[in-house]
Structure formats: C-alpha cells, structure tokens
C-alpha cells in the first residue's frame, strides 16, 4: 500500500464527507435559507403579474434587474454568504470533534491537514450546489419584470455567480480557520460577519480593508441599495478598490486562511470531551 498524496487524501476525505454534508439536517436549514429569496422573487413576480402594484422608486418604475441586484446585495452578499460560511466553515473540524468521529480520520496514514482541505472542498461543493441554482431561479423570476432583457443582463448574472462562489470560498476558509483554532468559533464568526464587517465599512480610512466584504462588494455589478441608514452611510464612504485588486486580495485571503486552517489542524491537539 502506498500513502495517498496530500491532494489524493483530500479528495478521499471529500468523497467521504460530501454525502454526509449534503444529506444532513444542516442542508435542510440551508435550503430554507436560500429558498427564501426564491420565494420572495416568486411573490414579487406574482404581485407584478396580478398588476397589484408597479414597483416604483420616487415615481420611477424599477425593473426586475434592479430588484434582482438588490436581492444580491441585501440577501445573498450581506446575509446568505457570510451565514453559510460561518455555519459550515466553523463546523468543518468542530463537528467531527463534537461527534468524536475525528479519531477515525486522525488514525489513518494521511496528513491531518488533508482532513480539513477535503472537508472544505465538500463544503464548497455543497454550498455552491445549493446557492447558485437559487440565484439563477431568482434571476429568471425577477429580471423579466419591466421587460428587461435576459440576454443583456446575462453577463452580470455570470459575474454574480462567480462573485458568490468566491465569497463562499473566502468566508469558508476564514471560518474554517476560526473553527480549527477556537473553541467557540460561532460567537467569533457572528461578531466578525455582522459586527466588525458592518461597522468597519462605515468608517473612512483603512479599517475596511480588514474585511472580506470590502473586496467582495467592489466586484458587485449592481448599485448598492441605500435606503437603510447603514446602507446610506456605507455608500457615503464607499471607495471601492479596482476589480483586479479586489480579486488579488480575495485570493490571498482564501489561500492564506485555508493554509492556516490546514496548518492549525496539523499541529493542534484536539482533546475529545469525555
């Protein structure tokens, strides 16, 4: 028998974990979360079709593409992507520790870091498989409203899909690291995603550069909704970096945190509770 390489070991952990992850209760929860924008889009479409109300802002009629852009901002980018990152990322190793099944993986002839990488790949596949179809459904439900052309806005859909996949990848690796490092990763994750990131974005200066949202938002092809106070303040101080700079930083965060997470798992001793 030959020891599987790091990559092979990761893939084998991926195979072992994907089914578990995909058919777990968590996925039901995740389906509910990502199903809600679809439901919302359906309701909006029904209202429009019934002619109950035309969607207007200051007497200007807004089209489906604008509503779609708003949902990408308000629901997907600010809520769904970070929540799924926290939800799954912090659980990559913590779940195995809590369930005490990590023993079976740590007593195999593979590097421990590969366990994290394999589970991370399963997370990414699982979330992308659920989130991206939901976005596409919302797109097909909303964009035709107000006779917007599906063809002309299709490139922005592709950007949205890539952006959300990137967001899932970066948040996943960040919270994967947090989950591998901390005993109570969820509290930290929530404070980071819904406290620090929101707060740092409203301050002028460099603080915002220490958030993932700052770089992700720079890639969004839709205008930022400014109705809420927080949104307005964030828009006021918004100085988006260029797409290339954002991509470079996001890639750095992604690979950096994934490396740190794998290294932590490699070196850290996990004591199972009796």
């Amino acid at each position: 028998m030959r020891a599987p390489s790091y990559w092979q070991a990761s893939l084998r952990i991926f195979e072992l974990s994907l089914g578990e992850m995909l058919w777990s209760r968590r996925t039901i929860f995740m389906a509910l979360v990502v199903g809600s924008p679809v439901l919302l889009a359906g309701v909006i479409r029904a209202i429009e079709a019934a002619g109950i109300a035309g969607f207007r802002v200051e007497s200007l009629r807004i089209n489906g593409a604008t509503i779609f852009g708003m949902l990408i901002w308000v629901l997907y980018l600010r809520f769904i992507v970070p929540v799924l990152g926290i939800f799954y990322g912090t659980a990559l190793i913590a779940d195995e520790i809590e369930d005490k099944t990590i023993t079976y993986l740590f007593t195999r002839p593979i590097p421990r870091g590969a366990v994290l990488v394999g589970k991370y790949l399963a997370y990414l596949t699982c979330t992308i498989l659920v989130v991206l179809p939901s976005v596409m459904l919302v797109y097909f439900l909303l964009v035709p409203i107000g006779s917007a052309s599906l063809v002309s806005s299709f490139p922005s859909l592709v950007t949205d899909l890539g952006l959300l996949a990137l967001g899932l990848a970066v948040y996943g690796s960040l919270f994967g690291f947090v989950g591998a490092r901390l005993k109570r990763p969820v509290v930290f994750g929530l404070v980071f995603a819904f406290g620090w990131e929101q707060a740092a974005l409203i301050f002028p200066g460099y603080l915002r550069r220490f958030t993932v949202a700052y770089y992700l938002q720079a890639l969004v092809p839709h205008a930022m909704p400014e109705q809420s106070t927080l949104g307005a303040v964030q828009a006021l101080f918004r100085d988006a970096p260029s797409g290339l700079v954002s991509l470079a930083w996001l890639a750095l965060f992604w690979l950096g945190f994934l490396f740190l997470a794998a290294r932590t798992v490699e070196r850290r001793e996990y004591v199972l509770e009796q």
Partner: protein, 310 residues
C-alpha cells in the same frame, strides 16, 4: 519482563495532563510484541495512554514511540496500526460497508480493493448481513463490531483496542476474544484495554496494570491473581445463624478477623481459596443453618490496586 525484539510501543517518562488533571504520570514502559492487556479501573489512564500511542494526543512531557518512531506527526505509521476507539461515534447515515470502504480509501486502497477488504472484515466480525444497513440502525453490539472491523480491515501489524468488549453480548465477546487470539497467532500484535480482569485473562497472560495514571505492575496475569489471593480477603456471609457460623470459622487459622452482625458474618481470610472451599461444604451440609448470600466487597482489582499502591 524482557523484550527480545524491538518493543512495539516505548514510553519514556511519559506524562499527559489536561489542565490541572493528570491523565498519565511519568510512565516509562515497553510493550513487547504479542497480546498485551492494559488493565485498570475506570479513569485510571488507559484511554489517555492509548490516545498517546495512537498520536491523537501530544505528550505533555516525555516521549512515546511506536515501531521505534514518535507517533505524533508521523501518520505513515498508521499503515501498520489499527485503532478501535472507546467512544460510540459513527457517521450514522452511512452503511457499514460505505463507511469501511471510505476509511480504507484513506489507507491508500483503490475503490475495488477497498470494497473487497471492507467486505472481508465485515465477514470477520460477522456483520455481512448488516453491511448495507445504516450504522444508525445498528444495535450496540453491532456498532462495537463494525468499529472493530474498521480497525482490522487494512490488516495492520498492531491492533490497539480500547475496551472492545464493552456493550457486546456473551457470544459477541467470545467471538471477539477468539479474533484477538487468532490475530496474535498470525504473528501480529494487539494492545487491548479493559477494566475487567477476567476479560483480559481470556485474551492474554501479559498485562500492564494501570492506576491513577501510573503503571503499577507489568507481567504475567497469574502473578496478579496470586496477589489477589494473597491479599487479605473480605467475605460477607448472610446466614440464618451467623454466630454458629462464626464459631465454625474460628476453628481455622486462615481466618484473620470476624465480625458478627444481626443476620450476617463478615470474615477476613488470608487464603480465600481454602476458605471458599470450606464454605461451599458448609452451605451444602446446612450444619450451621442456611446460608442466604455470599458476597466479597473486595473481590476486584480495586483491592489489589490499593495493595500495590501501599
């Protein structure tokens, strides 16, 4: 005890503490090839020792080597090690076969060989019929057996089994004991833990006695048996006429002390074998009235541990 070949496991001044709690305290020991029983009461440090020898825990002090190499950070050693942990933890939604195949793939086997090896190990632990059922639906005994199957599936040279008989029915126990013995007969080694002396006795005569995080004794289990027998032994006898019974006991010099209660007599004896033999005769003859109950509060390892610690 002297090891002729390289020891399987070698611990040198090995200590492990969890915060302020000591799990293992300054242990220096060599485990030879063959079957070795790790015997000790609950909380003695058996599981900590096993986790250290399987590289799940890092020593707080000292070193531990398996097959001559430190186990922490050397996963390649797991080609030669199979570990059956104590905890009842599984991927509940997987079938036994899927789970074993998945784990075997981590040992470097391709899909086909992994499936074959998984099936083979399920045959060994007598779980073929449940191979395609979800582990979540397994009984306690079946769960123990599938856990054992994952440890033996890759045919390791050293099996480390943490309380493998816990939760098994008598037939399951007998089969597992036979499996362990067959494993040793095939020239491989086993380290098995238990807190029950006769379980260990059934598997091996070579034991390590562990208590309060320290190795108290190592060697032949019969020597430990002798210690139990030599150690003053307390017997509680509930009888119809305890005073008459006490008078009969006093005629023999192996009785060290006697205490008569309203419906019972408590005896301390230096030679339990002789005493029990006489007691059986007495009970059969009913000479001193009816004997309702015989118990020995210290007919267990605890008494030996206390004796050895003194």
């Amino acid at each position: 005890m002297t090891a002729t070949a390289q020891p399987l496991v070698e611990a040198t001044t090995l200590s492990k503490w969890y915060g302020q709690v000591i799990g293992l305290n300054d242990v220096t020991v060599s485990v030879p090839a063959g079957v070795t029983g790790l015997l000790g009461p609950n909380g003695a440090g058996k599981s900590t020792f096993m986790k250290l020898m399987t590289g799940q825990l890092k020593p707080s002090k000292g070193t531990i080597a398996v097959f001559g190499e430190p186990i922490w950070g050397h996963p390649h050693l797991f080609f030669r090690i199979g570990f059956c942990p104590e905890q009842d933890a599984f991927y509940e939604s997987m079938t036994g076969l899927e789970w074993l195949t998945g784990l075997l793939r981590l040992n470097g086997l391709d899909e086909k060989s992994a499936t074959t090896a998984a099936q083979h190990s399920l045959v060994t632990v007598d779980l073929v019929e449940a191979a395609d059922k979800k582990i979540g639906s397994y009984s306690k005994g079946m769960r123990q057996r599938v856990k054992l199957a994952q440890a033996i599936a890759h045919d390791p040279a050293l099996l480390i089994l943490d309380e493998p008989l816990a939760g098994m029915d008598p037939i399951g126990r007998r089969k597992t004991i036979r499996l362990i013995k067959d494993w040793a007969r095939a020239g491989k080694s086993v380290i098995v833990s238990s807190h029950i002396l006769h379980e260990i006795e059934a598997m091996t005569s070579n034991i390590l006695l562990i208590h309060n995080g320290r190795i108290l004794a190592e060697g032949d289990v019969h020597q430990i048996r002798d210690l139990i027998d030599e150690h003053p032994h307390t017997v509680y006898i509930r009888a119809q006429h305890p005073r008459e019974l006490a008078r009969t006991f006093l005629e023999h010099d192996d009785v060290l002390s006697l205490k008569v209660e309203s419906d019972a007599v408590v005896v301390q004896t230096a030679r339990p074998d002789a005493f029990y033999s006489r007691l059986t005769d007495l009970a059969a003859s009913s000479e001193s009235g009816e004997i309702a109950e015989i118990t020995s509060p210290d007919d267990n390892l605890q008494a030996v541990f206390q004796y050895l610690v003194k």
